[in-house]
């Protein structure tokens, strides 16, 4: 009974130029493909663990994806004869079919091609802090079809690669250092030179405020109610935000400790006192007022009478 059951695997299902295709061939095709996928997955998981500490994620992930999909395509093409398809014929047919499929799957192919360019040109990398098409956040993954971004408030946004590739990308960590700027307004009565010295001294003690490019502290404007000092500091991109959010408060404290205060909006009024003129001005309206009000007063008198 058993040999009879297994015998159906040798029956011809259909015939091609490469010979007859049997259920056994089909099972082999599926098995080889399945085992290849499983082995490749295990291999990529293993390599991901091995490379974790040695290679950064933005370099390791594209390599692993290239290895996974590249090997899978090679395995798939090499086992096509099992199901009676000649890979060389498939390639020729692919030329015509490619045009048809290309039109039908224009967006998917566009995203695929854009994804490949993103992986090789690398305007953004996994872990980068970017703004793409108005969406700001960290790049969590760059896949074949789409890019995943975790926004600053923790949302996951999937952007098609075509959109990423064709739109403006702002990579805030694209360069090793980044600058920030404060405007500090002090009173006119304070010593601006002393304030600049104090700020420079504090910046010099702050480790992440870079020594080169040199920070610049200068009086930029004599405002309506304050002397405006501009402070420009460069910091490593990894420390930029932390430094920017902590430094201003500390500068304020240091200035206040040294008697220099942040200016409030104010207006100085100069009042001139000229007693004679004032007396004249005060008396004059009284006379005029009496003349103007005379009919009214007379009216009252008339009423009383």
């Amino acid at each position: 009974m058993i040999p009879q059951d297994i015998g159906f695997l040798g029956h011809e299902l259909y015939s091609t130029s490469l010979g007859p295709v049997t259920p056994g061939n089909l099972i082999k095709f599926v098995l080889v493909l399945s085992i290849s996928i499983i082995l490749l997955r295990v291999l990529t998981i293993y390599l991901r663990r091995v490379l974790k500490d040695r290679v950064s994620k933005d370099v390791g992930e594209p390599i692993l994806k290239l290895l996974y999909y590249g090997t899978l395509v090679i395995v798939f093409i090499s086992i096509l004869p099992l199901i009676g398809i000649d890979p060389s014929g498939f390639m020729l047919a692919g030329g015509v079919a490619g045009i048809v499929i290309g039109f039908a799957t224009q967006n998917i192919v566009g995203n695929l091609v854009s994804g490949s360019f993103l992986m090789f040109e690398r305007p953004i990398k996994i872990g980068d802090q970017v703004e793409v098409n108005g969406i700001s956040g960290f790049v969590t993954d760059i896949r074949i079809i789409s890019t995943y971004i975790r926004t600053h408030d923790g949302l996951l946004v999937r952007i098609p690669n075509q959109q990423v590739f064709t739109t403006n990308i702002t990579n805030t960590v694209g360069h090793p250092v980044r600058r920030f700027e404060y405007t500090i307004r002090i009173r006119y009565s304070d010593d601006a030179s002393a304030a600049i010295w104090l700020i420079n001294d504090y910046i010099d003690k702050e480790p992440f405020a870079l020594r080169n490019p040199t920070p610049s502290v200068f009086v930029n404007d004599l405002g309506e109610s304050s002397v405006n000092i501009i402070v420009r500091i460069w910091a490593p991109v990894s420390e930029w935000f932390g430094l920017k959010t902590s430094l201003l408060l500390n500068i304020k404290k240091i200035l206040e400790e040294n008697g220099i205060e942040i200016s409030y909006p104010q207006r100085v009024l100069h009042i001139k006192s000229e007693p004679e003129k004032i007396q004249h001005v005060i008396e004059e309206p009284k006379e005029q007022q009496f003349i103007e009000n005379e009919p009214v007063l007379n009216f009252e008198e008339r009423v009383v009478n």
Binding site: D53, P176, R211, P213, W234, P236
Partner: protein, 246 residues
């Protein structure tokens, strides 16, 4: 302060207090320096604490493996010449735990009494962030506080045919080898390749040929466990290629 300690112990120097004491069935590691306080629990017995100088690139936060030493005065070196100078470099103190005889101890704490500052070497668009240190130039080995500064014996070699004006050198922490005994010592070199390029590196092999020790000036210095040396990172360049001038 540098050396091997078997718990329980406590050591205090220059405002740094380090102790490992038994609390119940565990050990407690405590370290205070200034306002900074660290306390950790150690599980298991028979552990040894090692305190030694480490590469000065871990505090206040490890953001770069490169150290830029700016010379207080610019040096001029004629083409084809070789000179030896002594510089200083900042020290960080590493506290490691290990089993007795273990050659791969685990770093548990690191601190520094030296000034902390970072700088950029190169251009804003593609330069390298480095830890910054400004050093005087000595013609002989200076006497320094080993908890704050170390001695860097630097060999300058101008392989080009032009005069070289040298005001800084950048070193990669991956190649650093520190030796200590009373003082802290490193031996490095700068090879001037052209008008704007140079290569820096460290002497891996100790002078007397025996690894783990450095014999110089009739002193035997012990090799320190490094933080970067402990990382089994392959494909990391031990040299630094200075392409934006020196």
């Amino acid at each position: 302060m540098y050396g091997y300690y078997d718990p329980p112990f406590s050591v205090e120097q220059e405002g740094i207090f380090i102790s490992v004491e038994r609390t119940g069935d565990k050990w407690t590691y405590r370290r205070t320096s200034g306002k900074d306080e660290v306390e950790k629990l150690i599980l298991g017995d028979g552990k040894r604490i090692i305190i030694n100088p480490v590469e000065p690139l871990n505090t206040p936060k490890e953001i770069t493996p490169n150290l830029l030493i700016e010379f207080e005065k610019t040096l001029l070196l004629a083409g084809g010449e070789k000179e030896q100078i002594f510089l200083t470099f900042p020290i960080e103190i590493g506290i490691f735990i290990s089993d007795v005889g273990d050659k791969n101890p685990q770093l548990i704490d690191v601190l520094s009494l030296a000034r902390q500052k970072f700088t950029l070497y190169g251009e804003v668009s593609n330069g390298v962030v480095c830890k910054h240190w400004k050093s005087k130039i000595y013609s002989a080995s200076p006497s320094l506080n080993p908890l704050q500064e170390g001695i860097l014996e630097l060999t300058l070699r101008n392989t080009s045919s032009d005069w070289a004006s040298i005001s800084k050198a950048v070193f990669s922490a991956y190649g650093m080898k520190l030796y200590y005994d009373g003082d802290v010592y490193m031996k490095a070199r700068v090879d001037i390749l052209s008008r704007n390029t140079a290569e820096t590196g460290f002497e891996i092999q100790s002078i007397n040929g025996e690894m783990g020790y450095l014999v110089k000036d009739k002193k035997i210095r012990k090799e320190a466990f490094g933080v970067y040396g402990l990382r089994m990172l392959g494909l990391v360049p031990l040299k630094f290629y200075m392409e934006w001038g020196f």
